[in-house]
């Protein structure tokens, strides 16, 4: 009985301790750097080509404030990013996803490099193989006397 009481007491202390840590963690105000780490991975829909962590517009400031609030509430970075994707679509992600139609953006360059390596290999092999001249190729035609005379004449003129 006594042991049971001690166990309950200890469990309660542990729970209390844990809850207070969580509360402390939630109450802690996230730093700008923590906000920017997440913002870096996002783009807001109205500012094309400017990552959220450096964008100066009011809209982006509001987004950063929202990230700060979510961090304060104990959200993880991935949860926050998922939230923005759910709200505004895939376009908020700086790094395109690797699934669905979007995965093409990643796959094609890899395929292109593979194709390029094969192509280079083939061309090199082609270059190396010493081509035998065809047996029945005619001997080079001798220069006709007229051509020779013309060349001589032109050489004379050049002098």
């Amino acid at each position: 009985m006594k042991r049971k009481l001690i166990f309950i007491f200890l469990t309660q202390v542990a729970i209390l301790f844990f809850v207070s840590i969580v509360a402390y963690a939630q109450g802690k105000i996230p730093t700008d750097d923590e906000v920017n780490t997440i913002a870096k991975k996002l783009y807001c829909p109205v500012c094309p080509n400017t990552p959220l962590d450096v964008c100066e517009t009011k809209a982006c400031e509001d987004w950063r404030a929202q990230i700060r609030d979510q961090l304060t509430d104990g959200w993880s970075g991935q949860q926050i990013i998922d939230y923005f994707v759910a709200q505004y679509g895939e376009r908020v992600l700086a790094e395109p996803q690797r699934k669905g139609f979007t995965s093409l953006v990643w796959m094609l360059p890899v395929l292109a490099v593979a194709f390029g390596v094969v192509l280079v290999w083939q061309v090199l092999k082609n270059w190396r193989s010493v081509r035998q001249p065809p047996i029945d190729s005619p001997p080079p035609a001798p220069i006709s006397p007229e051509t020779l005379a013309r060349i001589e004449k032109e050489l004379q003129e050049m002098k």
């Binding site: 750097d33 450096v54 679509g89 895939e90 376009r91 790094e95 979007t102 094609l108 292109a112 270059w127």
Partner: protein, 687 residues
């Protein structure tokens, strides 16, 4: 009145350019020199005519003739005379005219210089280059005319921009103009468009020669390559300068702490640079070994098309939104022109495919030929990855209806390894011999640099053991650099031994005697310095952001920034300035007072963040004023970046310019000393 003369000159130039295109083509086909000469005269006249309209437009910008819509758009009373002149390329209408003007200038120089030398190619060189010029002048005349005026139509809400007055319209002259976008008022953005356009238009010349060689079936001998070698170099270096100036501008003005953001507009410029660089290398294969002839043509066609594509992207705004495409007639017309010229020149190439024959075989995979081929493939692969990432958002929106963003992580991940492979190749390829490379002579050139670079990177890696990934990159950079420096040293030593020259004279003579080779080495050194900047950005960059009160500090990477106070005042050119005073400490020692500020241009409603930068060869400390307390000025938010090695990007660019100048020197008389040649050949494998 003046504007009418400018307009008239452009229209005549357009007619002449169209005439020159058809007349030279017809004259070439029918082998009728009279037509070709007539076309030549017409083509040469285009430049003076466009010069008249450019001068008039500059004059209108300078004297602030606000009845002209373009002037009212980009010039204003608050702007300095210098800025008013540069407003020529500050907006779409002016910059398209500027493009056409430069293009016509290049064509004129070609016609005056190469008329005798490349007589057979000339008809089609005129036809191709004038077709391109005519297209751009056509855009100026019909679609984006800088001489159009502002008109007030009774009852209408907005002003009308037109050349001819609409029915019952009154001319409208605003009191002041909008002025150049404040973000563009920076030396980088003033120099960036002219250099970029010189690069883009410069590549049209080798393209025109290549197409002419295809049409005349003279493509198997390399006349077109020899005739355009220096054009290619000039175009390439201007494009390089344009890229670097753009990067410098982004670093100084855009306030995100970096110089390259993989923005579509940046990518659009990078792509022709990549294919142009590949072309620059691969023409050497054709010159020296008579190989890769088809490749060269493919590369110059790509470079031409990508140059047009670059202009297209920056001038139509299609990437920002697919819908911007349809807003002006320029997008579709441009798209059509790129498509037609690309498909036309590719099908011409295929129809001449059988004429292009390799003259040599190689004996080994370890040969300079193989290295060149691999290098071409890598450049094309990077170009493709950049192209695909740039256009994929459009494709996704068109096919799938999903808007997506392809940001820097994609480009870094995909192109990073490819660039690494390219640099590795750059360290080896110059030391490979043609045909076949023996291991022993390669070792002679590379053993010392290899050992030296391993030692350097071990020491460096130990000092920066918290960034283990950087060791390979640093090894690569130091290996390439040392290999090049060692090559210089061997050349100098050889001259010192045989001609008893002092080291400086030996260096000068080395550069003079073999200017293409050593110019190329200097360019490679410059590239490695730029690479250092990227390595710093990729591995060692640090940043922090925080809000501090007066007297409080923010620390990052061994530096401490103390906030001393804020003040606001009005600038001379219509800007409100909020400026923070801060002191930068390293340890306890004050090293610099920095004044990051935020400017706000009232008329344009445009903010601009000007960083305070403490710059050293090793690193920049780059401070931004991000925000400040709304009621009172007791606290402020700063963002501090520590950007290691970033200055090497700008220094490297200077090296690249210097190396290009050396490589483009006219080939002087060869020295006739056999003894010297024998000695120099020996320690320089692969010459």
């Amino acid at each position: 009145m003046l504007a009418d003369i400018g307009l008239f000159a452009v229209v005549i130039a357009f007619l002449l350019a169209v005439y020159a295109t058809f007349a030279s083509f017809y004259g070439g086909r029918k082998e009728c020199p009279a037509w070709v000469e007539s076309a030549r005269n017409a083509a040469i006249l285009v430049f003076p005519l466009l010069t008249i309209s450019v001068v008039i437009l500059v004059y209108l910008l300078y004297t602030l003739d606000f009845s002209i819509a373009y002037v009212a758009d980009v010039s204003s009373q608050a702007m300095s005379p210098f800025l008013r002149v540069t407003a020529l390329w500050g907006g779409q209408q002016g910059s398209v005219l500027f493009w056409a003007w430069m293009m016509s200038g290049f064509v004129m120089v070609v016609l005056l210089r190469n008329w005798q030398r490349n007589r057979e190619l000339m008809p089609y060189v005129i036809a191709v280059s004038m077709l391109t010029t005519a297209f751009f002048i056509g855009l100026v005349v019909f679609i984006t005319n800088p001489f159009a005026r502002l008109w007030l139509v009774p009852g209408a809400q907005e002003l009308t921009i037109a050349i001819f007055p609409p029915a019952s319209a009154m001319p409208y002259v605003p009191k002041d103009g909008g002025g150049l976008n404040p973000l563009l008022r920076h030396f980088g953005m003033i120099g960036h468009p002219p250099t970029t356009y010189l690069g883009f238009t410069g590549f049209v010349i080798p393209f025109a020669f290549a197409i002419a060689a295809l049409i005349t079936r003279k493509v198997n001998d390399d006349e077109w390559i020899r005739a355009t070698r220096r054009w290619t170099l000039v175009a390439w270096i201007f494009l390089t300068i344009g890229l670097v100036l753009g990067g410098r501008w982004a670093y100084d003005v855009l306030g995100w702490g970096g110089f390259w953001g993989w923005d579509p507009v940046e990518n659009a410029m990078l792509m022709p640079w990549l294919t142009g660089t590949a072309f620059l290398h691969s023409v050497m294969m054709a010159e020296k070994r008579g190989m890769l002839k088809k490749w060269n043509i493919v590369l110059i066609i790509l470079t031409y098309s990508l140059s047009l594509f670059g202009t297209f992207i920056t001038r139509t705004g299609i990437i920002g939104s697919v819908h911007a495409f349809a807003k002006s007639a320029m997008g579709p017309v441009f798209f059509l022109f790129i498509g037609i010229t690309f498909l036309g020149s590719m099908s011409l190439l295929f129809s001449r495919w059988h004429l292009l024959k390799s003259e040599h075989e190689v004996e080994s995979f370890a040969s300079r030929e193989a290295a060149f081929l691999l290098q071409n493939m890598l450049f094309l692969a990077i170009t493709f990855a950049v192209f695909w990432g740039t256009v994929f958002p459009m494709i996704s929106e068109l096919i799938n209806g999903t808007k997506i963003t392809v940001g820097p992580p994609y480009f870094k991940m995909v192109t990073g390894p490819l660039f690494g492979a390219l640099v590795l190749l750059m360290s080896l390829a110059p030391f490979f011999a043609w045909r076949k490379q023996g291991v022993r002579s390669l070792m002679r050139a590379l053993l010392v640099p290899l050992i030296g670079s391993i030692i350097i990177s071990i020491i460096w890696g130990y000092l920066h053991r918290m960034h283990p990934n950087s060791i390979f990159a640093l090894w690569l950079a130091s290996f390439v650099t040392m290999a090049i420096l060692y090559e210089f040293w061997r050349g100098i030593r050889a001259r010192m031994a045989t001609r008893s020259e002092n080291p400086l004279l030996a260096l000068v003579n080395l550069l003079r005697r073999n200017h293409r080779r050593y110019g190329g080495y200097i360019i490679h050194l410059g590239v490695m310095m730029v690479a250092l900047g990227f390595i710093g950005e990729a591995y060692f960059k640090q940043e922090t952001q925080g809000t501090v009160g007066v007297g409080e500090s923010l620390a990052v990477g061994g530096y401490t920034l103390r906030f001393d106070g804020l003040r606001d005042y009005s600038g001379s050119d219509g800007r409100e300035i909020i400026e923070a005073s801060t002191s930068l400490f390293k340890g306890d020692q004050l090293i610099r007072v920095l004044q990051p500020r935020r400017d706000y241009f009232i008329v344009q409603e445009q903010p601009s963040t000007i960083p305070g930068v403490y710059s050293t060869p090793g690193k920049d400390v780059y401070v931004l004023l991000v925000g400040w307390g709304e009621n009172g000025i007791n606290n402020a938010t700063f963002k501090i970046y520590v950007n290691p090695l970033i200055n090497w990007v700008w220094i490297g660019a200077l090296f690249m310019v210097f190396g290009t100048l050396i490589a483009a020197l006219p080939s002087g008389r060869q020295e006739g000393s056999y003894a010297l040649k024998a000695v120099e050949l020996q320690p320089v494998p692969g010459d």
